[in-house]
Amino acid sequence: MSGCAKRCKQGLIKFAVTVHKLLTGTLVNDKADDDLEITMVCHRPEGLDQLEALTNFSKKELQVLYRGFKNECPSGVVNEETFKQIYAQFFPHGDASTYAHYLFNAFDTAHSGSIKFEDFVTALSILLRGSITEKLQWTFNLYDINRDGYINKEEMTDIVRAIYDMMGKYTYPVLKNDAPKQHVEAFFQKMDKNRDGVVTLDEFIYSCQEDENIMRSLQLFENVI
């Protein structure tokens, strides 16, 4: 009831103000609250030297990385929207947003909702210059959506489905609806050694190390920069 009275009062006040404005004929003035509220979220990364110490990149590489980063996000942080947009530009065929969402969460280790340059570069350092175990660990982290240390079938299905979404509609052969599920089944067959329905980090690392192809392809992306 009090809400109603308050609204009535507000309405009355607004009406009075409008009548007043009508009578006095004030020109439409720039309302102050109309102001351009730019909340500049600006973040500056740590110095080049510290970053070089923290990661496995050389100074030159860090410079190159930063310039690219800064070009897309002048404010110094990437939020999820921008991240999705950036990532979507690489996959024009399909819908990269779901996978970008998971990637974003994997990069954003502090769960702050935005990726700073340090997070970005740390993750890249692991991915490009890290040891095998580190890379696998990062991957496990990506898959483990709820960060509980286990990958269960639902999480894996989500990830796989997101990957398939990136393919888009026009694929050859035609994408069937249960393709992701089958994919997940195969994955679990391979990785889940003790058949308990979840994959732990150790099982994951062990299984991947058994597989020569995975090992080989892990080294593919090393000279990306």
Binding site: K21, L22, L23, T24, G25, T26, L27, V28, D30, L36, I38, M40, C42, R44, P45, G47, L48, L62, Q63, Y66, R67, K70, P74, S75, G76, F90, F91, P92, H93, T139, V160, I163, Y164, M166, M167, G168, K169, Y170, T171, Y172, P173, V174, L175, A179, Q182, H183, E185, A186, F187, Q189, K190, C208, D211, E212, N213, I214, S217, L218, L220, V224
Partner: protein, 633 residues
């Protein structure tokens, strides 16, 4: 700290000597100046234009890019300068900000470009100096408005409905955008016609018709042909009621709809009829009823749904409400003043028409609007003088707010024009955007073709490093999901062939792209075929190594498929004879260490001789229908 204050600091400190005799305690030690080295000049190279400035200048604003350590990322060791690949013209203004402490907005630059530069250099736009702030704000608001209407126009008032929309949503859409369906268009025109009919009927029924036989007086047509007019009125009101109820039903938010102007007009237009029906044939009440009929003229406002011009006029009046209000208010003031003056001036004269001040209102209004009916005329000299002042001032007062209203109308009108033009060009734009997107998608497909055909024969097109890496990335995605990208044409054909019922096992072929678009695929068809065969051989070899998990699975399919679709490993080269009716055979190169299914060891078509032997040797574990693929990151 602004530049100005910093330079005055040494003076202030020197003047502190004057306190020394008065001080009760000893002075504290001065801070040690750590930056003993003299100020150095920094070189900043912005796209070739070299700027030089003192390091201190840049250090004045440590929360910006140039003032903080962030600029280290842009330092070029070889040339000992900071290199920025940005606009040098804009940089001039940025650097001036450091030097003078005031940021100016260059008037001939695009506001968005300027904002982007500011964001890049970490400068907040709020610090733009007063001299340029007004301009900046105006341009920014204009730009935002334009963006807003662009997004509004794009948002697809004309966009197709989502497929699972309820009938209610479709109905609402038909009402709001009549040109989306023929039914809606028909309805739109029908209602328009009936509005016109109703208005004309209202007008005509007051025209005096020839009196019926035996009577002298002229009768208005409404009285003479009571029944036809009543029928017409009923028909119109029925249509309007039906339309209103339909709109009410379809409206996404009934509350909002009922409060909207158009719905109020609708209600006002049809209410008099129903009230008239309900009201008894009573003498006194019918007097009020007659007044109600006046409201029927509101039906003409229903035309505003059909006419954009009327709507623009309405918007203009609404947006100029304050100007109109001012006009009214000032007019009222002037009327009262002049009416009073005229009344007292004419009070004495005999037979004067200025009987009271309210009576003089009429004279003042008529005079100020320069109408001058002449039914009330001042007779005294004083009255005439004041009368002339009144008419002169009337012209001025009315002329003042008019340009504001006109400019508002012009702005809204042009906005509307722009929106219409954009909607007309929408199709072209969408087509262009679609082509661009297809271009990028096609780039990858083209790359795949070239990859399979090209390298050793030098058919490689020159691709930038970025393109190559991007293509590699997409290729990895294909391998992960074990599906390939294809374009719309092939996809629709695939769908068709599947639906026709061919037993399609999923077939990925490493090199079946040849068959894809045209028979003369690329420059090296035969080579490709051989290479394809060799690749198959390679992968089969790997099978024999045990349960190695390849990244792909290979199925061969020899069913009747028109040449265009990707089919078997041996692409549809003209010499290849496909026998219809050959059963499927699948040779899966890969799988998982799971129980093998029996692979039907069908006969292979004769051409790929090298494969034959190898395939026959391996009892490849195969799944006919489902092959499961493993993915690795």
């Amino acid at each position: 700290m602004a530049a100005g204050v910093a330079t005055w600091l040494p003076f202030a400190r020197a003047a502190a000597v004057g306190w020394l005799p008065l001080a009760k305690k000893t002075m504290p030690k001065p801070p040690i100046d750590n930056s003993s080295k003299s100020d150095e000049i920094l070189y900043v190279n912005v796209s070739g234009v070299r700027f030089q400035t003192w390091k201190n200048t840049l250090d004045r604003y440590p929360e910006t890019l140039l003032g903080s350590s962030e600029k280290e990322f842009f330092y070029n060791e070889d040339t000992q300068e900071f290199f920025f690949d940005r606009d040098p013209e804009m940089f001039r203004h940025i650097l001036n900000f450091y030097r003078t402490g005031k940021l100016h907005y260059p008037r001939n630059e695009c506001i968005q470009a300027f904002d982007e530069e500011l964001a890049f250099y970490g400068i907040v736009p709020e610090i733009i100096g007063d001299c340029c702030m007004e301009e900046y704000r105006d341009r920014k608001k204009e730009n935002q408005e334009r963006l807003a209407e662009d997004t509004e126009a794009n948002e697809g008032v004309d966009a197709p409905l989502p497929p699972n929309s309820t009938s209610r949503e479709r109905l609402w859409r038909a009402f709001e955008n009549p040109h989306t369906s023929t039914m809606a268009l028909v309805f739109y025109y029908v209602t328009g016609f009936f509005i016109a009919v109703s208005v004309i009927a209202n007008v005509v029924e007051t025209v005096p018709c020839r009196p019926p036989l035996g009577s002298v007086k002229d009768l208005p047509c409404g009285e003479k042909y009571k029944v036809p007019f009543f029928c017409m009125d009923t028909a119109c009101v029925l249509i309007f009621t039906f339309e209103y109820l339909m709109r009410l039903f379809a409206a996404p938010s009934r509350c909002n709809f009922m409060r909207s102007v158009m719905s109020v007009i609708d209600v006002v237009a049809i209410m008099p009829y129903y009230i008239g029906l309900v009201m008894p044939e009573n003498e006194d009440v019918s007097g009020a009823f007659v007044t109600l009929r006046v409201f029927r003229v509101f039906r003409i406002f229903k035309f505003s749904r059909h006419s954009a011009g009327l709507r623009i006029l309405g918007y203009t009046l609404k947006s100029c409400a304050s100007e109109l209000g001012f006009l009214l208010f000032s007019l009222t003031m002037a009327i009262i003043i002049f009416a009073t003056v005229m009344f007292y001036a004419e009070k004495g004269t005999k037979g004067s028409t200025f009987t009271s001040i309210p009576a003089s209102f009429w004279y003042t209004i008529v005079t100020m609007t320069t109408l001058g009916y002449g039914d009330m005329v001042p007779n005294t000299i004083a009255g005439k003088i004041f009368g002339s002042i009144c008419s002169l001032s009337g012209v001025l007062v009315i002329a003042l707010p008019v340009p504001v209203i006109v400019s508002n109308f012009s702005r809204i009108y042009h906005q509307n024009q722009r929106a219409d033009k954009m909607r007309a060009q929408q199709k072209v734009r969408m087509a262009r955007i679609r082509m661009a997107k297809r271009g990028t998608a096609n780039a990858f497909l083209q790359y795949k073709e070239d990859r399979n055909i090209g390298d050793p024969d030098g058919c490689v097109k020159n691709r930038s490093a970025f393109d190559q890496q991007h293509n590699h990335l997409l290729h990895c995605l294909e391998k992960t999901t074990n599906h390939e990208f294809t374009n719309e044409m092939n996809y629709s054909e695939l769908c068709m062939t599947e639906s026709v019922g061919f037993k399609t096992s999923r077939s990925t072929s490493l090199s079946s792209h040849q068959g894809a678009q045209n028979n003369s695929s690329g420059c090296c068809p035969r080579r490709a075929r051989r290479r394809a065969a060799m690749r198959l051989a390679n992968s089969t070899v790997s099978v024999s190594r045990g349960s190695v998990q390849e990244l792909d699975t290979l199925h061969l399919k020899t069913t009747c498929i028109p040449p265009q679709t990707r089919s078997s490993l041996n692409a549809q080269m003209c010499d290849m004879k496909l026998n219809c009716g050959d059963p499927d055979f699948t040779a899966a190169i890969i799988s998982i260490p799971t129980p093998p299914a029996n692979s039907p060891d069908e006969s292979l078509p004769p051409s790929p001789a090298p494969m034959l032997g190898i395939l026959r040797n391996t009892r490849a574990t195969a799944y006919i229908q489902d092959s499961v693929k493993i993915s690795s990151l």
